[in-house]
């Protein structure tokens, strides 16, 4: 293939911090890769593990969940719930043969446009290195057969 692979990444961004951080990155006219499709959620705690699996099932090669820094949640402790869920999800996802690096949790505040940019660029690079997930005709999602999956 002559064209470089461009990963499809879904980013669940919390409405109070991370989405504002993304807005700030725009206001700052910061440049970053266009691979992340943002979805605004009221709180990162609203991101059910099912959303992440659905995103992967439906075509995402990576999923970013971004929320307020610990202690700063608009709903007091929604992001701690996110932390627990994403930790357990990344433990489970290995059994499905999917590299846990494809699912990333990051804290981005409304003032951190630069952190948002850095996160997006880094994460996109990670997914580029992992390569696209294969989707078989029977609906099964799997790591590319050629790339060695780190377990």
């Amino acid at each position: 293939m002559s064209q470089e692979y461009e990963p499809k990444i879904i980013g669940f961004l919390c409405r109070w911090c991370s989405y504002m951080g993304a807005d700030l990155a725009g206001t700052m006219r910061a440049k970053y890769v266009p691979n992340v499709i943002p979805i605004k959620v009221m709180c990162s705690g609203r991101v059910d593990p099912e959303f992440v699996l659905q995103a992967i099932k439906k075509g995402a090669d990576g999923v970013l969940v971004a929320g307020c820094h610990p202690g700063d949640c608009h709903y007091i402790e929604g992001n701690y719930k996110t932390l627990r869920r994403m930790t357990l999800l990344s433990q489970a996802i290995k059994s499905f043969g999917i590299d846990p690096r494809r699912v990333r949790l990051e804290w981005v505040s409304a003032a951190e446009g630069d952190v948002f940019v850095k996160t997006i660029n880094e994460f996109t690079q990670t997914i580029k290195e992992l390569g696209p997930l294969e989707r078989l005709s029977n609906g099964i999602v799997r790591e590319p057969a050629a790339a060695g999956v780190a377990r």
Partner: protein
């Protein structure tokens, strides 16, 4: 009016669903009086060719238990679908893959080696594996072909209704039979004989805030007999499982394992249970959270114990043991 013609079949399952039909005890006599059983390999003598000779749609209701994991399972599922007006996935294996579906964590080769070569009680020095065809002096012997994947019934044929459970509780079977015999059928795709709420809502135990510092396996802790099991650190799937079984496991002081599948509006039972377990952890410290969770053995096998075959993220080949 002629009695409805009914068929029962047993594909990839343990046989518990066949027992579950009998477990409705004397009610079975009422059912038997109202229907004509045309095919039920475990109970009456009928051959596949008898079914093949039937007219299309001549069976009124087929109760199909078991997942699809071989060419034979698939053939009979398609045959019975063709011959039946109503196809019912009976039990967890047919509905969502259940325990046989856990095989989807492994390759067929790994499974065959484990079962026929590696188990401690196996003596198989020549390493002979069963194959679809074997030549013997008398001719060629054939076996069904084992597929690479285990499927719930609805992935292979059109399914009209589902009866949940591993195996379905007598109360569920009786209710489902009643519904079907009444002729007053719910919309296609409905789950028969179970609740429309999560088991947690029906649970008789006391509930408070769930704050868990350590998870235990049931044999590692003495349950107090009245508090929510999850609060005591025993992982209970009741939060992510459809009710209607009469909380049989809870009554025996054992946690719900999740065999009734997801409650209405939950698509992925495993993800819902995973969220419930994670939310119960009492810590805001990343390292402590990791430590508490690392003590849960096989989180994917635990959360997707009954619904793995429905979760299409399952990679093949994958060695879960290589984690």
């Amino acid at each position: 009016m002629a009695k409805p013609k009914v068929a029962f079949y047993w594909a990839a399952s343990c046989g518990g669903c066949e027992i579950a039909v009998l477990e409705i005890h004397e009610k079975l006599l009422d059912v038997a009086a109202q229907v004509e059983i045309v095919f039920w390999p475990v109970a009456i003598d009928a051959k596949y060719k008898d079914v093949e000779a039937m007219e299309d749609k001549s069976i009124d209701v087929t109760f199909f238990n078991g997942a699809i994991r071989s060419s034979e399972n698939e053939h009979i599922a398609k045959l019975l679908r063709q011959k039946s007006k109503i196809m019912i996935a009976f039990g967890s294996c047919a509905s969502e893959g259940c325990i046989p579906g856990l095989a989807n964590f492994y390759t067929k080769d790994a499974l065959m080696d484990r079962v026929f070569k590696e188990t401690p009680s196996t003596t198989n020095e020549e390493g002979i594996l069963p194959g679809p065809e074997t030549q013997v002096a008398e001719g060629k012997l054939t076996l069904p072909v084992l597929w690479d994947h285990v499927w719930p019934l609805e992935d292979v044929v059109d399914v009209d209704y589902f009866i949940p459970g591993c195996s379905p509780a007598p109360v569920t079977v009786a209710k489902a039979f009643e519904t079907i015999l009444s002729g007053n059928l719910p919309p296609k795709g409905s789950v028969l004989g179970a609740s429309e709420v999560a088991l947690c809502e029906e649970c008789p135990r006391e509930r408070h805030d769930k704050k868990v510092k350590k998870f235990y396996r049931p044999h590692e802790i003495v349950d107090d007999g009245k508090t929510c099991l999850m609060e005591q650190g025993i992982i209970c799937a009741g939060l992510a499982t459809r009710g209607g079984c009469g909380h049989l496991c809870i009554n025996a002081n054992m946690p719900c394992r999740g065999c009734y599948g997801p409650p209405p509006r939950v698509k992925d039972q495993g993800a819902a249970l995973l969220a419930a377990i994670a939310s119960a952890v009492d810590s805001n410290d990343e390292e402590e959270i990791k430590q508490i969770m690392s003590e849960i053995p096989d989180i994917a096998g635990l959360c997707w114990r009954f619904s793995l075959a429905k979760c299409s993220l399952v990679n093949k080949p994958v060695a879960a043991a290589a984690q």
